[in-house]
């Protein structure tokens, strides 16, 4: 029997640590089974209220958090920045306090400003705060979905149940992250998640799109994508974040694609076991060629499906313990 104490908030992958990632993935596999049922809904979190506060555009993260909450029988409050009292001059702090006063047990927040979820977590008194992506800081649930997807593929190849692999299958796994790393919150969460689990992470990007302090990250940096891509087990592509000004860091989209996109020519250099991931939204023809995105090695659609299971796991971990005296028990 093991006991795991869930964090109060999920602001960063660091809040979970290796143990927490293992628990979240194990729970996510149990919820993936729920999703395959005739009626894919369980009463686990009946009566809990989950509010989604999205100050930035989103399709999959918002929908998957809301569908995850509904499959756990939570009530969902949807906040839309564009039509809210923010327009009348209400501050973020007051908005959050209003939502908490309405009984929200968890607040999922996305904001273009890095650090917003941390700030919000200092204002709430009882609600749990979940980071749904903040600026170019972190996007922890996406990194969890990526890990879950990669583990499922490894398990299928070995013909075993994914959960039986634990997190040991990440030990020594070679992960190559390609693209706009400087502006990508997914990259930061991926680096934390993969390295925490013992994987060897390499970054590859134009010099202008590498983070300024990359030497202090626990990763390698590859200059030549063609060489790096031949020697990796997982390649994670990232979108060029033009809404954060990435366009000005590269001479042109065409040059970016030539140098750092997964073109058909480059995809032919991959080992056939290499798993291609992309957190979405994909821009076909820029960071990934359209045919490559639909290749069998590409697990983009599975990442989306797994996103719901992972978010169910995170909501369950944080909310099922909210009134408990001790931690969560297994066994």
């Amino acid at each position: 029997m093991t006991e795991f104490r869930a964090p109060r908030h999920l602001l960063s992958i660091d809040d979970l640590g290796a143990n927490g990632i293992r628990e979240a993935m194990s729970l996510a596999e149990a919820f993936a089974e729920v999703e395959r049922r005739v009626i894919p809904k369980v009463p686990a979190l009946r009566g809990k209220v989950v509010a989604t506060l999205f100050f930035e555009d989103s399709t999959r993260t918002r929908l998957s958090f809301e569908s995850a909450a509904k499959r756990l029988s939570c009530d969902v409050l949807t906040f839309n920045a564009g039509t809210s009292s923010l327009k009348k001059g209400e501050s973020l702090r007051d908005t959050v306090e209003v939502i908490e006063a309405m009984g929200a047990d968890a607040v999922v927040i996305r904001h273009s400003c890095s650090g917003t979820p941390v700030q919000v977590s200092r204002w709430v008194s009882r609600a749990r705060v979940i980071n749904g992506g903040d600026g170019s800081h972190e996007h922890p649930t996406q990194a969890l979905a990526d890990c879950l997807t990669v583990r499922q593929v490894i398990a299928e190849r070995q013909g075993v149940e994914p959960d039986s692999l634990g997190v040991e299958c990440f030990n020594g796994l070679r992960v190559l992250i390609v693209g706009d790393i400087a502006h990508s919150r997914v990259a930061r969460s991926q680096v934390l998640a993969y390295t925490t689990l013992g994987a060897r992470v390499t970054l590859c990007a134009p010099g202008t799109l590498l983070p300024g302090n990359v030497e202090s990250w626990p990763v390698g940096v590859a200059g030549d994508l063609d060489a790096a891509i031949k020697e990796t087990d997982v390649v994670s592509l990232l979108r060029l974040q033009r809404e954060r000004g990435s366009g000005t860091y590269v001479p042109s989209l065409r040059e970016y694609t030539q140098g750092w996109g997964l073109t058909a020519r480059r995809a032919s250099l991959l080992k056939k076991e290499t798993i291609i991931t992309h957190p979405g939204p994909m821009v076909r023809g820029v960071e990934i060629a359209s045919d490559v995105a639909d290749m069998e090695q590409s697990v983009v659609k599975r990442q989306v499906t797994n996103g719901v299971a992972v978010r169910m796991a995170v909501l369950f971990l944080l909310l099922a313990t909210s009134d408990a005296r001790g931690g969560i028990q297994r066994g």
């Binding site: 029997m1 729970l27 149990a30 005739v38 009626i39 369980v42 686990a44 408990a324 028990q329």
Partner: protein, 189 residues
């Protein structure tokens, strides 16, 4: 499963100290054989019968009953497993994560489901299981088979097939394994 969770998890965890053997391994096999015959008798064969073992204690019992049914009826009944962690009524008070897999690969609509568990105690695990089974389709009927009924029900639930009725007090613990059934106490609670 109810029995195991109550006894092996903190803050109620502890070490099981056996006091007496209630059923020997051979007695247990006889009880399972009789219960299997009763299942076949009650349902006029096992054509529509699906056995569902509750994780974790009920699963080996369900498999052993399936083996007996295969022998006496000449056909193998489907066996599923069910973990009711997400249906418990004490989530939030004493959360227990699923410890094992749920695997019910068939649509249960129209089936006669025989829920199998090792020990029937308060009835709360069975209540959770009934809710869970509803999500797999509308079964024609759900029946309950347990190796030991130890009383102390907190809900209006009764078993259809019982290996042994065993009067206990609440503090005692009943352990069912391949070696038979033991009654004892848990030290260090």
């Amino acid at each position: 499963m109810a029995e195991r969770e109550r006894s092996h998890t903190r803050p109620l965890g502890g070490v099981f100290i056996p006091r007496a053997q209630v059923l020997s391994a051979a007695d247990l096999q006889r009880a399972l054989t009789r219960m299997s015959h009763e299942v076949a008798e009650r349902n006029g064969g096992i054509e529509e019968v699906v056995l569902v073992g509750l994780q974790t204690g009920g699963v080996p019992i369900a498999k052993r009953m399936a083996a007996v049914l295969t022998e006496i009826e000449g056909a193998e009944p489907p066996v599923g497993t069910l973990d009711v962690a997400f249906y418990r009524d004490d989530i939030g008070l004493r959360p227990v994560l699923p410890e094992a897999t749920t695997d019910i690969s068939m649509d249960l609509t129209g089936a006669i489901v025989v829920l199998v568990d090792d020990v029937l105690f308060t009835g709360r695990t069975v209540r959770a299981a009934l809710n869970a089974l509803g999500d797999y389709g509308r079964a024609k009927a759900i029946q309950l088979a347990v190796v030991v009924d130890r009383g102390h029900r907190e809900l209006p639930i009764r078993p259809d097939f019982v290996g042994k009725n065993l009067p206990t007090n609440r503090e005692e613990m009943v352990d069912v394994s391949d070696d038979g059934v033991m009654i004892g106490t848990v030290e260090g609670r």
